[in-house]
Point group: C2
Chain length 462, copies 2
């Protein structure tokens, strides 16, 4: 470990409380990317980050427009062209959070309790992206320089599947050019079991809507002779799965690369017990494809979930209608080598085959993301492994991630660099759920690990 990184780590420890309060400031801004009503908050969040990075001494800091929400960019290239350049990617946008979903505290008034900060975005991804900002600050405010060049790219549309990031990268390939990309937007199963992801699932996110009568009808006047759209919907969606919990869409599994015995043995080491599974989720019994263990089901196998359902009257009291329409959001997590657009076509064909003539059925594609897979014996991955050992204090495992960071596969392909996913969250941080939280200890150990990672990268032959 260099003196440079040791001084930076000491600085990070001494400034831990201030770092935490700065994070809390960020978390107060409800930067929801999926809701046009929050466009002003997105802007405010971008301005906060721009101003903050400029204050820390980063160069070329700017809010860069896209066709949607802007990118915030900053760089420090003082290590010079002979040293590696790392591109840090993070996202400053968050998913919705409503008190009535079960939050115990205001999701945008961060609350510290038992060593955790409760707030929407705490772990996904404001807490984790901030780790890299604070790691770079710790170098710049001590030695006045970092061991490698650092570029920071923060986007505001990750939670709506980054519709504008690919064109942005394509347009700024020179500005963004780097030897490796590091992303912290994932998690480990316990604080002593850090994980580096070498694979992510992709996604096909769809919306189905069924239209029946022109208006809601009185069920007493028309019930019995009208195909209820909510009924048509459940009849169709009820056929998405086979009785053995495999997905019934014909051809769905055709392009899935089978897991090797070697990888299955590695995955088995991080499998959950039924007990761990139940206590993490609160469900009464295990479910899924019995040919695969729990860890495989949630990370290495493709899935299909109904994310939302709506029809008719959901308020208090009875309302005796045949609803005019019914809809659902459905999404599939994909693995290599499934193609999200091909999967959408398969869904479309299947649902068309189930659609009765008594209603109108429409399936729309909302977003897609490709699955990603990297080897883990390359220097950029091995440097990350050493950073956890030295900075975090535990040897990491290489695992597949069940979630999707749609741009990972795109960044790798467009920039021709590996993407190292160093997650500093916990599996049960409740991201996308009520009471999302982030452990203050994880935040602080994350900063030290990120400091060491820059040092280890400098000592690798990239």
């Amino acid at each position: 470990m260099s003196d440079l990184s040791e001084a930076a780590r000491q600085y990070a420890r001494q400034n831990a409380e201030r770092f935490r309060h700065e994070l809390i400031e960020m978390l107060r801004i409800p930067s929801l990317s999926g809701d046009p009503a929050h466009a002003g908050d997105i802007r405010r969040m971008a301005e906060w980050l721009e101003s903050h990075m400029r204050d820390l001494g980063l160069d070329n800091v700017q809010i860069m427009p896209t066709a949607g929400h802007p990118v915030v960019y900053g760089e420090w290239l003082g290590a010079g062209p002979s040293r590696p350049t790392v591109l840090v990617y993070g996202h400053y946008d968050v998913v919705p959070a409503l008190m009535e979903d079960g939050w115990h505290t205001d999701p945008f008034e961060p609350t510290e309790k038992d060593g955790k900060i409760y707030a929407r975005g705490a772990t996904d991804d404001k807490g984790q992206l901030f780790i890299h900002v604070k790691a770079l600050e710790s170098y710049l405010k001590t030695a006045g320089r970092a061991p490698v060049n650092v570029k920071i790219l923060l986007e505001g549309e990750e939670e709506i599947s980054s519709p504008n990031l690919v064109p942005f990268i394509e347009e700024h390939l020179d500005l963004l050019a780097a030897d490796v990309c590091v992303i912290s937007d994932s998690s480990m199963r316990s604080i002593d079991e850090p994980a580096i992801l070498h694979s992510l699932r992709g996604m096909t996110y769809m919306e189905i809507e069924i239209h029946g009568p022109s208006d809601d009808l009185h069920s007493g006047l028309w019930g019995g002779a009208v195909h209820n759209p909510a009924l048509a919907l459940v009849e169709i969606l009820g056929k998405l799965y086979n009785p053995d919990h495999t997905i019934a869409v014909p051809g769905f599994y055709d392009d899935v690369v089978p897991l090797t015995d070697e990888e299955r043995a590695m995955i088995a080491k991080t499998d959950l017990t039924e007990e761990q599974y139940k206590s993490s989720t609160g469900v009464p019994a295990i479910w899924g494809d019995a040919d695969y263990n729990i860890r495989e089901r949630i990370s290495a196998r493709p899935t299909l979930d109904i994310n939302g359902l709506w029809s008719g009257w959901a308020g208090p009291g009875p309302k005796t209608i045949v609803p005019a329409k019914a809809g659902a959001k459905i999404s599939s997590r994909l693995v290599g080598n499934q193609d999200p657009h091909k999967i959408f076509e398969l869904f479309k064909d299947y649902i068309d085959s189930l659609a009765p003539p008594t209603v109108q059925v429409e399936l729309k594609l909302i977003t897609t993301g490709k699955p990603a897979l990297f080897p883990f014996d390359i220097p950029e991955m091995q440097a990350a492994s050493r950073a956890y050992e030295k900075g975090w204090g535990a040897e990491p495992v290489f695992t597949r991630g069940g979630g999707s960071i749609p741009v990972v596969a795109e960044i790798a392909a467009l920039m021709n660099i590996p993407v190292v996913m160093m997650g500093y969250g916990l599996d049960d941080d409740g991201l996308h759920s009520p009471n999302e939280r982030y452990s203050i200890e994880m935040f602080e150990r994350g900063i030290e690990t990120a400091i060491v990672y820059l040092d280890e990268l400098a000592q690798s032959s990239l």
Copy 2:
């Protein structure tokens, strides 16, 4: 026709515009019974009716408490004990109405257009109950007396299935004592085809809720190993019907009294063509049990509808969750001799048999109503038939109603009197739907018919 009724009819014609404006005043009050937020409006509606009936010269006018929303009562008994007494029942409460459901005008700012008044409650039941108030006024303001004694009972909980009306009637049997009950809360298929209902469907209204994980889960972290509650819901609800559109709940049809050939021949006369059916509903194709014609399906056969569905995220943009829960409102329209509570038990057994161990399934009973059936050769029904001939100007048909007025069977049983259902609405008035409307011509012809009915009752031997 007596001079008394002729004078009353002239008065009604001369005061038609004022009557209409009074109705519009009533329609401005959003007296939703199913939503506690509108309790004040319910009270305001009751007070308006009390004050109005008192001004017209009714006696013993009062707002009478129940365990829920109050009853408004008024009477005129000046015809004396040798004359028949008619009990008018109506309801002043309405179902919800939201602009976003597709209203073209504010549902509580009545709008006149093309001879119709658009407002929630216009036809169901404010317009129709007011017909009887105005008929009685027309007698009292001309001759100073009516040909029979009249009692008016207006309740505020019909749209939530009248949970407190039976105890109210039981407690006030002497006050309410009458020879016949008349209810105008139904419809005819066209203005020249008036109908008297001799049967109504009953109801079992239920809510199913499925609980899976304790909180919404990230579909990337847990998708594939958790039984999605929305999926479990659609899998269960998708098995409610058989492929031939009969209801799959075992035993559901056991107590249904088969239609006789004679009644089927009568019903066939009022059947809808596929063209009429499609233009009334806007659906692309006919649906239902092919063993019965459309009119039978919507009036003489039991049904099952999903009235609402909810789960997870229904807002804009994608949200990648496994929802913690999913639910639906489901209701069955019943015919003689189905028992609503027995039907609930059959649903419960069936849904229990479908419930998987991977989620928690709860079925709750929300409301019930018994089906009703009366003979149509009795004097009270025949007087109604003559009233339509003379007052409306067309001979009515006796039909079965597909809707439910839960108290009809209860009033008949508790008071031992027939209930004559003289509907003054149109089948396509859009009740319970956006843009509910009431024809001004129907309102005015209704008042004249109601005037004649009192006269015809006086001349019947009850």
